[in-house]
Assembly symmetry: C2
Homo-oligomer: 141 residues x 2
DNA sequence: CTCTTATAGAAAATTATTTTCTATAACTAT
DNA sequence: ATAGTTATAGAAAATAATTTTCTATAAGAG
């Protein structure tokens, strides 16, 4: 976890009277630098593989908190909810449909416009494709 | 449900050895013309309000089937999975963040391109905003 | 119209998620 | 630093969401 993200999240927590603790840090340390869409279970397992012990409840609580804070996004893939950390100012996702790797894309060309009677408030653009590594693995590219 | 959609889905079902039945038709009749993101429970309730009786299991089975067929999309909103029917050739969604109304937008300006090592295979663009009706209801527009 | 087989839906089983509870640890004020 | 206050972690229990099982029924083929 980059220092600035940790500081940012710690400040956000404090504004709500919440505390930055070891389990939260351990979770964020892993989650904020994870590149793949993961289920809560997978996140816990991955973290435990690093010999770090936190509870599943903490994973759920952090995911809920980060979702509310707009710092995480959930995708329903094959009936499973999978999560990815979203840096504060990201706009696009590039998602590999094979390995579920996600890349954040920051530059946003879309302006505030009115479409078909709707005032645009926010937007998300998600591209689904094959990442370079999965391309290499393909027999029939 | 428009005739052409029903025919299209019936054909798709038959290709898999599945049958078009009264409960499936009742569900599709409602779901394919529903404009708002709904939970499975809500869909069932709405259908029952029309004095039509189908089971929750059928709702889940149809949603799973339509998701697989690419004819439905799920959004995780406030921790709830909400579904919307997607016509075969839609590309964009306009989603009202207040009432969860969804409009399909068909024209797609995005081409097959390679971005940051990813070959784009499909994409989705989801705009979140305030629909015209919710705009009218707002005190502070 | 008959026959074969997918189906609906109730109930049970399973899975995912949230809540409860209490010892512990984080921050505040001394 | 240290003591006091209160949010917290995480296990267990509770709940909610979803899937599976099972069998009478109905769809569609011939």
């Amino acid at each position: 976890m980059q220092k600035n993200i940790e500081t940012f999240i710690t400040d956000t927590l404090h504004k709500k009277g919440m505390r930055m603790t070891r389990p939260k840090k351990e979770f964020l340390d892993f989650f904020t630098s994870e590149e793949y869409l993961k289920t809560p279970q997978e996140l816990l397992e991955n973290i435990k593989q690093h010999n770090i012990n936190i509870g599943l409840t903490t994973v759920y609580r952090m995911l809920n908190y980060l979702m509310e804070a707009g710092l995480t996004k959930a995708y329903s893939i094959n009936g499973e909810l999978r999560y990815i950390f979203c840096p504060p100012d990201h706009h696009y996702h590039m998602i590999c449909v094979k390995c579920l790797r996600v890349k954040n894309i920051f530059d946003c060309p879309v302006k505030d416009v009115k479409v078909d009677g709707f005032k645009i408030q926010s937007h998300q653009v998600d591209f689904f494709g094959i990442c370079d590594e999965c391309s290499k693995k393909e027999v029939n590219k």
